[in-house]
């Protein structure tokens, strides 16, 4: 190896050394250890005991709560993700319309995402209170009845969805950045061709925003499958397991029942599910995501 190349390699490795150390100790080692633990019975009190695929067999065939937590997570994702994306896009479009005072409105919509998750959870526990909550009062204002929210197994997940919608500000900002990246000439050309506002949205805005939608979709999906803090604080999985989400059930197995091997198996399944869904969206993206600069 020539001297400059060698010096470059040494410098490169030296500067990257914190990451290399972290990768080995805090990522690679735990990832491999958790594959192994997934095939063990391990309760912390005794050393891990190899039991083959037993954990996975129990998960799939003997644990109704595993399926319940998976279905709850899917249900929540299917409801919260599209609604969140639609609201974030709607707000971004309103802000992008070019009226006065944009900065103030933008701040207003973004503010909830600044509040610590623990505080958000406690605040919404009170907002959603079935007897004295402010949401009940707001719904009464427009003559709508208010359900029991977190006290009612049928309404607990929708309650969490409403809380989630309060925090769409971050997604909205990403949409705003996407909107700002669409060249104005496209709209002018369309207007000259006689396209109305709706046609412009359908044929310019939406296609040009598909990379942003794709990004928000993937990030939202990953976040939704790891949904934990809110349910841990607000419901602890109740009522009648209606908010027992995947990450919460995993936590309970690991730290309440000390079934560390079982929880490791769940963690690996979680990884595979997230990976699978991401790849699935990615596979379909060729059909609906438009990247500028690709061959026309």
């Amino acid at each position: 190896m020539t001297t400059p190349t060698r010096r470059n390699l040494i410098n490169g490795l030296l500067f990257a050394s914190p990451f290399i150390a972290g990768l080995l100790v805090f990522t690679l080692y735990p990832v491999i250890a958790s594959i192994y633990l997934g095939f063990c019975r391990y309760t912390i009190l005794r050393s891990p005991q190899w039991i083959g695929a037993e954990n996975y067999r129990i998960l799939f065939t003997e644990d109704p709560l595993f399926w319940k937590s998976l279905c709850n997570t899917l249900y929540y994702t299917a409801l919260a993700l599209p609604l969140g994306l639609a609201l974030a896009l709607g707000l971004a479009l309103l802000l992008h319309a070019g009226v006065r005072g944009i900065a103030a409105y933008r701040t207003l919509y973004f503010l909830p995402t600044i509040v610590p998750t623990v505080a958000v959870a406690i605040l919404w526990l009170w907002v959603l209170n079935p007897e004295y909550g402010v949401l009940k009062a707001v719904l009464a204002l427009v003559h709508l009845p208010s359900p029991g929210w977190l006290a009612d197994p049928k309404w607990s997940k929708p309650g969490l969805v409403v809380m989630g919608l309060w925090g769409v500000g971050g997604t909205m900002i990403i949409f705003l950045a996407g909107l700002a990246g669409i060249p104005y000439q496209f709209y002018e050309a369309a207007a000259i061709d006689g396209a109305n506002r709706f046609a412009q949205f359908r044929h310019i805005t939406l296609p040009m925003l598909t990379p942003t939608i794709f990004f928000n979709l993937v990030i939202g999906l990953i976040g939704s499958f790891q949904y934990f803090t809110q349910v841990y604080i607000m419901t602890n999985g109740g009522p009648t397991h209606s908010t027992l989400f995947y990450a919460l059930y995993l936590y309970q197995n690991a730290f309440r029942y000390l079934r560390m091997g079982y929880a490791s198996a769940m963690a690996w399944l979680l990884f595979l599910i997230i990976l699978g869904l991401t790849l699935l969206i990615h596979r379909t993206s060729a059909r609906w995501v438009y990247y500028e600069g690709e061959a026309l």
Binding site: G12, F110, V115, V118, I122, Y132, W166, A247, F255
Partner: protein, 285 residues
């Protein structure tokens, strides 16, 4: 583009549509504000005014002492000290390590660099839950459980998300600046510290802000790694208080307001850094 063209670009929307847009923005704004108003109003009320329906919005009397009593009750100063300690180390560690690694990944050329960067990106896909259990066992063996170390030591070893963010930014700095310094005999460490870091201040500010917020808000880490009450951070302390005093709404709202306030103040001072950072990370799609 011709000058004539440029002047026609910003067309004024018709009056009716502008009014409609404003109306929609205001209605949404009020809806987003209601939970904040509810938080403040409840935090200043006495119980008889809290448990009524329809709700009373204006507290009478205004009980400012709810704040003093709530903060005294939850050992606020201890939790605040712990939180500030962890946040400081996390921010320091993140900025130093992530910028060094990003420098290696963007300003230096060496075989295997891009492969390692791809690995860094791939680790962002691994859910926290996968590494959590072995980490707990590892920290247990090292005697770190119950100390703050599990919360801040990893920050000193580079956070992939911030490495990615800084790498993108470092790429935009002209290579000639580094070359000129090299000709003058500067070492890579000199170039990193004296040329690149001063030019990367906006990106570093974003990293500081996000790392600080992440550490301030972190709940799962403290929940799992801290064991004694004297070590609790604000987020964990508030949750513990809540689990023991479920219907003390005035106190709960007061503490929630207090732990949110520093972040809200920070947001108003650093709004541009926030917005730029979110847009920057969202653009990688």
């Amino acid at each position: 583009m011709s000058p004539l063209h440029a002047t026609t670009v910003r067309r004024r929307a018709p009056w009716g549509r502008t009014a409609l847009t404003h109306a929609a923005l205001v209605v949404c704004g009020v809806v987003f504000l209601i939970p904040f108003a509810w938080l403040l109003s409840t935090s200043l009320k006495a119980d008889p005014q809290i448990f009524v329906f329809p709700p009373i919005w204006v507290p009478r009397p205004v009980l400012w002492r709810n704040y003093i009593e709530a903060l005294k009750y939850i050992h606020f100063m201890t939790y605040l000290r712990n939180t500030v300690y962890v946040c400081t180390l996390v921010v320091l560690g993140t900025v130093v390590s992530s910028s060094l690694v990003a420098y290696s990944f963007s300003r230096l050329r060496w075989p295997g660099r891009d492969a390692l960067f791809m690995i860094a990106l791939a680790t962002m896909m691994v859910p926290f839950q996968v590494t959590l259990i072995p980490l707990v066992i590892l920290f247990e063996r090292m005697g770190w459980i119950g100390s703050f170390r599990p919360l801040w030591v990893p920050a000193f070893l580079g956070i992939p998300f911030f490495i990615f963010l800084l790498r993108q930014f470092f790429f935009t700095i002209p290579q000639e600046l580094s070359d000129a310094a090299r000709i003058d005999g500067a070492s890579e460490l000199d170039i990193y510290a004296r040329v690149i870091l001063p030019l990367a201040k906006p990106a570093l500010a974003t990293v500081v802000l996000f790392a600080f917020m992440g550490a301030w808000n972190d709940f799962l880490g403290p929940l799992i790694f801290l064991s004694s009450e004297s070590n609790y951070t604000l987020a964990l302390g508030l949750q513990q208080f809540q689990s023991q005093h479920e219907s003390q709404w005035a106190y709960l709202m007061a503490v929630s307001a207090v732990i949110s306030l520093p972040l809200i103040v920070l947001f108003f001072f650093a709004q541009r850094t926030f917005i730029r950072g979110i847009a920057l990370t969202g653009m990688k799609g």
